[in-house]
């Protein structure tokens, strides 16, 4: 059967990684929990395909921005828990500030009548 998912908009490159890192900064988590967390925090506005998390996680692992370890969760499940590394933290901060600037810029272009002071 066709998988004609009505995905209104793709995330921009790097956005998913940023959200993962942000979630992990709050607390270490395994893949499933990360998906739940991101969807809840975005009020389900972001329809992230669950699977797409994993390539992103592999990229972060490879860049040594997160590390992973097998363990047992609070619900007594075998899980692979991801944890942000110090270099991951640094990277996240850089990304957030540059993203904030970019977002501000986009907002200004889209809503020119709002004064920049607001």
């Amino acid at each position: 059967m066709p998988m004609m998912k009505a995905s209104p908009r793709d995330l921009f490159p790097g956005a998913l990684e940023m959200m993962i890192l942000e979630s992990l900064r709050r607390q270490p988590a395994h893949g499933y929990a990360l998906v739940q967390h991101i969807q809840q925090r975005s009020n389900n506005l972001l329809q992230v395909e669950e699977g797409s998390l994993y390539p992103a996680l592999q990229r972060l692992l490879k860049a040594k921005l997160v590390k992973a370890a097998w363990g047992v969760s609070s619900t007594n499940r075998r899980v692979r828990t991801y944890q942000i590394t110090p270099s991951g933290l640094r990277y996240l901060e850089q990304q957030i500030s540059s993203f904030a600037r970019m977002f501000e810029g986009i907002a200004l272009v889209l809503n020119p009548e709002q004064s920049p002071a607001s």
Partner: protein, 878 residues
């Protein structure tokens, strides 16, 4: 670098990933079940929410890979599996490419060596020789060369060489060897270092016969001195004169004349010991081939030509009798334009044909690949439906194409390597140092690789559109349909192009073969059948002066006593044998100033004994032949051919009794006219020729006997050898039929014919596979339809027309195109192959016949299959 351990860690990484994803889906499923879904529903929902698991795992893994390389490896393994599944197709495709790429590599190997790197010496870019612009021949006399060397301001130094055959005696087995007689600076101008010992230098030249040194060529040293490193310093005899071997030339150096590799090098100041006479001081005797040297830095070609031109004017003014020409052209050493131009054109043409073969092969394979992709449309559709990306599928198809093309290219290169090596070692004429250089170096490998890749892409992209437009639902639902027979497909267009190319190849090879056949049966101005020639070198046996004349008479007499010999006579050099003979400048009788600018014509010149015309079978049209009375004491006479009469006297009538002059001012009276003939080669324009009595010149110590007899050539040769050896056991003899003696003159057209024949054959093979592929494919696709037609009462002929009509139409269209192209291309051929005329009914009929035969051959199996279509069995299958 951390990628090395990562290769070993990777398996663990992938396992982790796989497990993680499995647990993810499990956790989701459990949650959904707790929300009230059934186990099956929950699992399906969990999977749906997760997305395309395979694709995601693949993408996750790619993070750890060198992305292109490794997925290419995966593609390759899949491609190999696919190829194994259809070995017949794979084999046919590889064979096609191996043939095409092999042909290209061979031609390129020759082109690379002959045209691109004719002279493999340091700084060959600034190395130039010069020739006379009008005659395209660069020969100079030794005194003229010395003047050019001393007076020019454009060349760093000028080197020169002549060629002679000499007997080289190293103590055991005296044998003929080809020697370059070189100026002392020859090796220094070329900037060549010896392989062993030393080479001679300018300061070795201290007057005539002052430098009795020999430098051996590498090949000759290996073959005749067993690569003995102690050869330096050894004494040898060159034409019975003592010389010292001082060194061995490097292996890569094959002399400075294309196709003509010397056995040894001797200083030209010692020429008088090798050749008779005193040609070094004769300004009119042009024994030097093109002088050559490096242009000084900053000197342009135009400046050099102007410089040479002024020297030419000086020479003309100072020596009006000997020197006339003053316009020069710069050429590559050993590459005179009269040879270089047609050769370049021919090799380039051959390369073009080889390229066309490859193109035809690509069209052929492109068609096959498109057919295969169509057959696999269901698989492709399934893969698309399962979420594979189109790019991935295309990459897969392309990988398969490239794999086949690379394997085919490798096989082709292997074959061509063998061929090139054999070509390089090939000496078509044992007594001539003729040799076709060909190289197998990096550039050939590179060219083959490039061709393989290009052709892989070419035929690999043919099915791209098909895949890009594939609609998975349609194909999966409908299954493969027999919906052909509609508009013209790309495959058919490709096939028409391919067959047109093959038709072109077949046509041109037929034109060449036909031209060669005609040239063998043409009129040469002498009778080839039952004629043998015997080269006798009395010089090497030590004869001179009157002893020569005496021996010559004895030889004629001795041969005539052999039973079965009808005639025997002497000639200095038979036409079409060993270079075709000498030439002389002829002046009209009324000309006073016999300078080079007043030459009426340059004619072939033959010194003959009285019975030559009868021995050679040359028809005497009017007047008389010579007798023994036409000797030194009698008036000077000549027999001319028709062309000579036309050029000197304006017509062939009322010529007898008239006079002409030669350069030294002697007048000769015409006493007879003989028929025109061929003298130098087959494709020459009609040349004038003049025959002079041998008794009216200084005795020639190197002559040929022409013998007419209807006996078996081999027996006759044995008898003649016995008889002649009885006169002098030390006479070097060269006995062969006249036809065999013409091998050299025939060589260019033979080579051309062989090359074109091979190309034609390749073209034919390709068109068979192309038509066969198409016909077989159509029949297999439409077998069901054909079965129904048979069931409804179609006649065999109707079935065949349905099944093969299109293939035959394609064949007819392509052949017609090829024929037209071939006829156009044959104009080029006429330069090389004698009487190559495409407007020859034999050729036209031959091409049509050949193409129909090819069509019949190619469609035979598919036709049988179509005829045997059994409606019952076919319909039951559904």
């Amino acid at each position: 670098m951390d990628w090395i351990p990562s290769i070993f860690r990777r398996r663990a990484l992938y396992d982790d990933l796989n497990e993680e994803i499995r647990l993810h889906i499990e956790e989701r499923t459990e949650l959904l079940m707790r929300q009230g879904l059934s186990a099956a529903e929950a699992e399906r929902e969990a999977r749906r929410a997760f997305g395309n698991r395979t694709l995601i795992e693949e993408r996750s893994r790619e993070v750890w890979q060198w992305p292109m390389l490794e997925s290419a490896w995966g593609d390759m393994r899949l491609a190999i599996r696919q190829m194994r599944r259809s070995p017949g197709f794979t084999f046919a495709a590889m064979l096609t490419l191996a043939l095409a790429i092999g042909a290209n590599a061979v031609v390129f190997g020759v082109l690379n060596r002959i045209i691109l790197h004719p002279l493999d010496v340091p700084d060959s870019k600034s190395l130039y020789a010069f020739e006379t612009a009008e005659t395209q021949i660069g020969h100079q006399s030794y005194p003229d060369y010395l003047d050019f060397r001393a007076r020019n301001r454009s060349f760093e130094d000028l080197a020169a060489f002549g060629i002679s055959q000499a007997v080289l005696d190293s103590g055991k087995n005296p044998a003929r060897a080809w020697a370059y007689e070189t100026s002392g600076n020859y090796f220094d101008v070329l900037r060549i270092e010896p392989y062993l010992g030393r080479v001679f230098h300018a300061n070795d030249e201290r007057g005539p016969n002052s430098a009795p040194y020999v430098v051996l060529s590498y090949a000759y040293w290996r073959n005749h001195f067993q690569a003995d490193h102690g050869v330096v310093g050894r004494k040898v005899l060159v034409n019975k004169h003592p010389f010292t071997v001082i060194g061995v030339a490097p292996p890569a150096f094959e002399g400075t004349l294309l196709f003509f590799t010397p056995d040894c090098f001797v200083p030209i100041v010692n020429r008088n010991q090798i050749d008779d006479g005193n040609q070094l001081s004769e300004r009119g005797t042009r024994i030097i081939w093109e002088p050559f040297g490096h242009l000084k830095p900053g000197v342009t070609e135009t400046q050099a030509l102007a410089d040479l031109s002024s020297i030419g004017s000086y020479l003309e003014a100072t020596y009006p009798k000997e020197d006339g020409h003053k316009n020069f052209a710069l050429i590559r050493p050993g590459f005179p334009n009269y040879l270089g131009r047609p050769l370049r054109a021919f090799v380039a043409g051959l390369m073009l044909l080889a390229g066309l073969i490859l193109l035809a092969a690509c069209a052929n394979l492109g068609g096959l690949f498109a057919a295969k992709a169509a057959d696999r449309s269901r698989e492709v559709a399934l893969r698309l439906a399962l979420g594979s990306s189109r790019r991935r599928i295309l990459r897969q198809l392309l990988t398969e194409a490239l794999l086949i093309s690379l394997a085919g290219g490798a096989a082709g290169l292997l074959v061509s390597a063998v061929l090139l090596r054999r070509l390089n070692a090939w000496h078509p004429f044992p007594d001539l140092a003729l040799h076709v250089p060909a190289s197998l170096d990096g550039s050939v490998y590179l060219a083959a690789l490039a061709l393989a890749l290009i052709s892989g892409f070419l035929f690999g992209i043919v099915p791209v559109r098909q895949v890009m437009c594939a609609n998975p639902y349609g194909i999966v639902k409908a299954g493969p349909t027999g919906a052909t027979g509609r508009r013209v497909t790309l495959r058919e267009v490709l096939l028409v192009v391919q067959i047109a190319i093959c038709g072109l190849l077949v046509t041109s090879s037929m034109v060449a073969v036909r031209g060669l056949m005609r040239s063998l049966h043409g009129n040469f101005g002498f009778e080839l059948r039952n004629a043998m020639v015997v080269g006798v070198d009395m010089k090497m046996a030590g004869y001179a002066g009157d002893r020569v004349t005496a021996l010559e008479e004895e030889m004629i007499g001795a041969v005539k006593t052999i039973p079965g010999v009808e005639q025997s006579a002497l000639v200095n050099n038979p036409p079409l044998v060993a270079g075709g003979g000498w030439t002389m400048n002829v002046f009209k009788d009324e000309t006073r100033d016999l300078g080079p600018s007043n030459v009426a014509t340059t004619s072939f010149q033959y010194y003959i004994s009285p019975e030559y015309f009868r021995a050679a079978g040359t028809a005497l049209l009017s007047g008389r032949a010579f007798t023994l009375q036409d000797d030194k004491n009698a008036p000077l006479v000549a027999v001319i051919n028709q062309e000579f009469a036309r050029r000197i006297f304006g017509s062939e009538r009322e010529v007898l009794g008239r006079y002409f002059k030669s350069a030294d001012g002697t007048r000769r009276q015409v006493v007879g006219i003989v028929e025109d003939g061929r003298y130098f080669n087959f494709s020459e324009a009609q040349q004038p020729a003049v025959f002079l009595p041998m008794l009216q010149t200084t005795p020639l110590n190197s002559v040929w006997l022409v013998v007419r007899s209807n006996r078996d050539p081999q027996q006759l040769a044995t008898d003649m050898r016995t008889k002649l050896r009885a006169l002098d056991a030390g006479l070097p003899l060269e006995i062969e039929t006249w036809t065999k003696g013409m091998d050299f003159a025939l060589f260019p057209s033979r080579m051309a014919t062989v090359c074109l024949g091979v190309m034609g054959l390749l073209g034919a093979v390709l068109s068979i596979t192309g038509i066969f592929g198409m016909a077989a494919y159509t029949v297999s696709k439409r077998l069901k339809e054909l079965g129904i037609r048979v069931a409804l009462g179609a006649q065999p002929s109707e079935v065949l027309l349905t099944a093969l009509g299109r293939a035959l139409k394609v064949l007819a269209l392509g052949s017609a195109g090829g024929l037209v192209l071939g006829i156009m291309a044959s104009r080029v051929l006429a330069h090389i192959v004698f009487q190559a005329s495409p407007r020859d009914p034999f050729v036209l009929a031959g091409v049509v016949l050949a193409m129909s035969l090819l069509g019949l051959l190619a469609t035979w199996v598919p036709a049988q299959r179509a005829l045997s279509a059994d409606p019952l069995i076919l319909l039951r299958e559904e």
